[in-house]
Amino acid sequence: MYMSIEEIVNAANDNQKPIYELAISQEMEQTKCSYEEVWSKMEANLVTMENAVNRSVEGDGVFSPTGLTGGDAVKIKNYRERGKSLSGDTMMFGVQNAIGTNEVNASMGVICATPTAGASGTVPGVLFGIKNTLELSREDMIHFLFTSALFGMVVANNASISGAIGGCQAEIGSASAMAAAAAVEAAGGTPEQSSHAFSTALQNLLGLVCDPVGGLVEIPCVKRNAVGTANALVAADLALAGVENLIPADEVIESMYRVGRRMPAELRETGLGGVATTPTGIAIRNKILGTDS
C-alpha cells in the first residue's frame, strides 16, 4: 500500500504507469475485488457527482432546510453566460459545480463524499471545470477520481481528513490537493508535477480552521469549496508551467497534521470559534437552533 506521495511518484515512474492505474491495482489488491467491480463503483460515484451538479441548477436551484445557503449555483451559471467573468470560464464553471454540489449537500440531498461531505464540492468542481477545456472522456473522468483517491488516502493515513481533528485544512485542503494532483495528470503532466501541484495546493490552505455557523455544513463550508476548487486549478497550472514546490508533498502533509494538532477545539468543527462566533454567526445560530442550545 502506498503510504507516501514519494512512493506513488516513484512507482509511476519506475513502472511507466499512470497514477490511476496504481490506484486501481492497489484497490483490487486491498479489497479482493475485480477490475470491473472497482471500475463500476467509481463510475457510480461519478454519476452521483453529475446528478448533484445537474440538480443544483434546475429551476431556481436547491436550498437548505434553514435557507442559509442555496441558489448560488444558478446565479453563477447566469453570470457565466454573460461571458464577462474575471477569472475565466474554466475557473467559474468549476466554482459553479463546487458550490452547486455543496448546496445539494446542505439540502440533505445525495452526494459523494470527496473526501468528506463538507468538502464534497471541490473534487467534482475541478473535474467538471476542466472537463470541457481538456475534452475529457468518461474514462478520463473516472481516471481522475482514482488518482484523486490515491493521493487522498496518503493524507488520510498520515494526517487526517476530518475537520474535527485537523480543521478545514484537513477537508478542503486535502480535497484541493487531491484534485490539483489529478488535474495535472489529466492535463498530461508528469507524476512529479502532480506531486508539486498537490503540495502547493495543500500548503496554500495550511491553517484553515473549521468554524461552521451553528454547526451547520453551510457557512462557510459552501464557499470554501469554491476556493478549494480555484486553489486546485491555480496549483495545477503552476505545476504544469514548471513551477516547483520546494517543500515535498509528504512534508506538507506532515505539517498539516502538526498544525491540526495545535488547533484549539474551538476551531475544529465545534462551532465555537471563527465566523461561527461572530455576532452575526451567533445570531444565526440562536435563530435556527434556539438560544438555549
Binding site: A113, P115, S162
Partner: protein, 232 residues
C-alpha cells in the same frame, strides 16, 4: 512550541484501506463524519441488537455534542439504528419513522471529554423488555468509523477492526465448527478472541475481508444454538 509529531500520538498503520473511503461514500448530506459516520455507528448498534428496540439512548461527546443538531446527527444515528444505508433517501425522516414505530429516544449532550479519546464520539444504548446492547463508536473522517466498545448479552469488549463476526453460544467447543465454516469459504481471520461468562462463550473473529453471502447463510443456518452477530 510546536514540535514534531511523536509516534505515540499518531497511528502509523493504514486506517483507510480502500480508495472508496476517500472518494465515497455516496450519502445523504450534510456531513460525512457527523451524518454518514454517525449513521454507521447506529448501524453497528442495529447489527448488534438485531431488531427494533423499544428504547434508544444516545450520548454525544465533544464535537458531536456541540454540533449534532446542525449536522443531522440525530436522524443519521437513528437511521442507522433502523438499518438504513448512508444513501437511503429515508435517512432525513428517520426520527419521524422511529416515532411512528413507538421507539422512545433520548439524546444527551455529555459535557466531559470523550471516553474514547476522539472529538466525534457517540455512545448508543438500545433496549427492550428482555435485552440490551451498547456501542461506543468514533467517526474518524470521511464517513469512516471505529468501534471502540460494545456490550451484548452481558459481555463487554473492544471488537477491534471491522468486519467482525461475534458468536455467542452455550455449546462447548463451538469454535471448531465456526472455524470449519470460515475455512470452507476461504474467509481469512486476522484476529481471534474468546470470552466466557456465566455459562456462555463469546467468540470474536476479526476477518480479513467482508463475509460472503454464502458464508453468512451457513453461519445463520446454525440456528438457535448460537447468536451470530456480523458487524461491518
Amino acid at each position: 512550541m510546536e514540535t514534531n509529531a511523536t509516534t505515540s500520538e499518531k497511528a502509523k498503520e493504514a486506517s483507510y484501506k480502500s480508495c472508496f473511503e476517500v472518494i465515497g461514500p455516496i450519502m445523504v448530506g450534510p456531513s460525512s463524519s457527523h451524518t454518514a459516520g454517525a449513521l454507521s455507528i447506529g448501524l453497528i448498534a442495529h447489527q448488534l441488537f438485531k431488531g427494533v428496540p423499544k428504547k434508544v439512548v444516545v450520548k454525544y461527546y465533544e464535537s458531536f455534542a456541540e454540533t449534532h443538531k446542525g449536522h443531522g446527527t440525530d436522524f443519521a444515528i437513528i437511521g442507522g439504528v433502523l438499518g438504513f444505508a448512508t444513501d437511503d433517501s429515508r435517512v432525513p425522516d428517520a426520527l419521524k419513522i422511529s416515532e411512528s414505530k413507538g421507539i422512545d429516544i433520548t439524546f444527551i449532550e455529555e459535557p466531559g471529554e470523550s471516553p474514547a479519546g476522539h472529538p466525534n464520539t457517540a455512545e448508543i444504548y438500545l433496549g427492550d423488555d428482555n435485552r440490551s446492547a451498547r456501542v461506543v463508536g468514533i467517526s474518524v473522517g470521511g464517513g469512516l468509523i471505529k468501534v471502540k466498545h460494545i456490550e451484548v448479552e452481558g459481555f463487554q469488549l473492544d471488537p477491534g477492526e471491522m468486519p467482525v463476526v461475534l458468536a455467542i453460544t452455550k455449546e462447548d467447543n463451538f469454535e471448531i465448527e465456526l472455524r470449519r465454516i470460515f475455512k470452507a469459504y476461504e474467509v481469512r481471520i486476522n484476529d481471534f478472541n474468546e470470552f466466557y461468562k456465566e455459562g456462555k462463550y463469546l467468540y470474536q473473529f476479526n476477518l480479513n475481508s467482508q463475509l460472503t453471502h454464502d458464508a453468512h447463510e451457513e453461519l445463520v443456518s446454525l440456528g438457535d444454538m448460537v447468536n451470530i452477530i456480523v458487524l461491518n
